[in-house]
Point group: C2
Chain length 537, copies 2
Amino acid sequence: MMQTPLTMTQMIKRAEKYFPKKQVISRTTKGIERFTYKEMAERTRRLADSLEKLGVQRGDKVGTLAWNHHRHLEAYFAIPCSGAVLHTINIRLAPQHISYIINHAEDKVLLIDADIVPLIEKCKDEFTTVEAYVIMTDEDELPETTLSPVYHYEKLLEEGNPNYEYPDDLDENSPAGMCFTSATTGNPKGVVYSHRGTVLHSMALGMVDSAAVSEKDVALPVVPMFHVNAWGLPFAGVWFGTTLVLPGPYFTPKILAELLEEEKVTITAGVPTIWLGLLKELEEKKYDLSNLRYILCGGSAAPKGMIKAFEQKHNIPFKHAYGMTETSPLAVISTLKSYQEELSEEEKLEIKAKQGILVPGLEMKVVGKDGEVAWDGKEMGELALRGPWIASEYFKDERTADTFRDGWLYTGDVVTLDEEGFMKIVDRTKDLIKSGGEWISSVDIENALMAHEAVFEAAVVAVPHEQWQERPIACVVLKEKDGATKEELYDFLKPQFAKWWLPDDILFLEEIPKTSVGKFLKRALRDQVQKDYLQKN
Amino acid sequence: MMQTPLTMTQMIKRAEKYFPKKQVISRTTKGIERFTYKEMAERTRRLADSLEKLGVQRGDKVGTLAWNHHRHLEAYFAIPCSGAVLHTINIRLAPQHISYIINHAEDKVLLIDADIVPLIEKCKDEFTTVEAYVIMTDEDELPETTLSPVYHYEKLLEEGNPNYEYPDDLDENSPAGMCFTSATTGNPKGVVYSHRGTVLHSMALGMVDSAAVSEKDVALPVVPMFHVNAWGLPFAGVWFGTTLVLPGPYFTPKILAELLEEEKVTITAGVPTIWLGLLKELEEKKYDLSNLRYILCGGSAAPKGMIKAFEQKHNIPFKHAYGMTETSPLAVISTLKSYQEELSEEEKLEIKAKQGILVPGLEMKVVGKDGEVAWDGKEMGELALRGPWIASEYFKDERTADTFRDGWLYTGDVVTLDEEGFMKIVDRTKDLIKSGGEWISSVDIENALMAHEAVFEAAVVAVPHEQWQERPIACVVLKEKDGATKEELYDFLKPQFAKWWLPDDILFLEEIPKTSVGKFLKRALRDQVQKDYLQKN
């Protein structure tokens, strides 16, 4: 067989050649802008040329601090396809973390959205490697800024060569991208993506039993492009000629619902909190979302009640998936087996509340107290993954040894596997509640609470206990003030759990603190609850 | 990213682990037999162990001479997954060609269907490397044979270790399979498939815009497992947990139609002559083939009339594809773009009669007289392909240099590309008719003739001509004797072609000679027609 490398240049070239009429739809400060792939591909070539003229060479890191829009998409291809490394930076991180990762990655050039400029101005004196700033603005003139030297994205494109040729000698194992993931303590940890990993991951997204991303789709990634490459949808979408809808900055559930309706979106992807918001919006106003093939949900487990509401009330298929920054991210996805399709709605819902089965191309093992767990849906163990789009290390980071062992990535997620191999997240290893020598899953209790119609969000954390070591406390946000009493929620939980699983208390909060990507910030909540609760008791 | 290799062991392990209940349905001399993937995977481990005990080592070639059935499927995985090389041998070749390829490949062990034994007995004295024969029989006892040493497949399985462990250190570029393709002159030419190529090709078969092979499918490959790995369907099918229906030896259009109906087949694959036969059967008897998602047709171009009959008369979607032994084989597949779905039935049919667009992961160029051809559906050129599942050479063969040049495979197929990038086969370079300095496509005239309701098959070949160098002669097989006159066929052709494209004569034949895999044997026909025609004129 030919030794042609698996590189990303083929993706953008295929969109350019076979799908020049298809569109990228971008929500910017100007409103909705539409670009054909022909235009987008030419702009991408211009950008690649301009970055080279700015001094970006093979292997150099180019950072992006940007929302989901067409310019960010152009950077997604111009940077890796010219041999440089696309370093997407989470703009919701604290300034000191942003400075850390820019310096640690050794970014040479930064591409920045205009509204992010003030944040970067605050950090800039810390930067040790940045040589140029490019502002991705819609305005004709640059905003006033203390960043220097500073360039205007559109002016760079004007000067770029529209016939720039991508190199054809890139090694498939060379770095293509980079993304940092928050750590429980300390600085974020960097993951480097290769061309090979990105190509294989994109193929996996296109497989029919996986996400089945197609030319016929209109895909709207709500998940930010600064968060694990928007789960790889921009790469797969461009390769396959999918219409992409990039929703831009500061959008609300209302804006999201309108975009889904107006652009006839067929697949959309994001974390559970986004879908909780959308669900609320759908309950207030009627939208025609009949084109939606599925909502792809990952990042953390979606409560069963929410899945039920989407599927049965709004007739929108809901697809669970599991992954992390270290896994590109797609590792596990929920596609029912043929014979499972014949089960009752209630039984199918039970399966859909699990994360799914392993995507072809990867290997998994689940390691419990006594080796690999039984496939019984009960025995808990830590999920470990291996495969060609799984990271093998953290970038120049001593914490590599904690997570990557014997050729496996240990995810830190505690899961069960049922008889059919469907994986269910039980908890993070560090969030499990250890009560009297047994394990209690905080996630199971949260999901049960969120299935109550009065509950908007719920999080369960451990408090120390003299006799039982730890006991669970539930924190609940109600949809409406006084929508349910503590007693009503206890009555709701009791039939579902063993007595010793029931939380020692249910606290009503205004909101659950969240991470920069919308996941529950359990550590902060646990600290707060432990402090409050122990003071009171 | 981890450097985990792309090897085929993951495919069989996935079927074993995730789809143990799914079935392989095998038509043997005993009738229909059903095996679960659990059983099939255990039998495969036993076979791998037994072959090792017979002395098969890493890199050794094991030949198979067998129809499409469960034992052949077990060999498809036991051989490459243990590190040996699966050499599928075309049982329809002439004995001297079979001897040549077994010796040239250096096969160490042969797995043979009982009914093929007499053929191999005829060749055996020529063999220079074969050390053992295994007969894949359903009977308890071996048939009498002069082959020696000879083993009984089922007895080997009994003795094999059901817990045999596949090696985990196979290199992804190591050879996994081998298949010989007929040459116009001389001995067949060998192609070696790697693990990497087979894995990537299988992923391509699973992609939704390609063949979309799914766990939910029931796939019946009519294309023989001795012909380019039955187009890779057994590999993809097992990996994805697809129900496989293997139709065994000597089946007729009637048996095929019954199998399609009874097993609720969703995808089936084969060459146009198979579908001509099926179409005839469907016109004689009613079958419920409503589960068929599509008929996959390759090997040579399907006439538009046949596509129309399947799609419009029998409501069975028809999917053209293009590939060859050297391309694993899938290279081009016909999936309409979203905006093409809105065209009229007639316009869509026009597109479906073309072979389709390039599968993601490959590169193509079409080289005409003056470099790459325009995308105008008119300019003809030779198709060249490049990519990770395209062969880079013929196995130990000097003819490599004719076909593989500058890193590209030159296919010998003359094609056009339309405005949307859809490729249409015009002819083989050697079958094109060169008349008065212009090119006439034999395939275009054949397809036009086959669209006539009285015509069963048609082939057009060149005869030498003093003034015009070459002129076309049409050879037609009618569905019924005297179903149409020569004049009626000329009247049918005239509105469709320029006058100088019309054949100089139309000959009525009993049948068109075919290759061992069912393609028109143009060379033999041309020789015969030229002889007959020139004698007469």
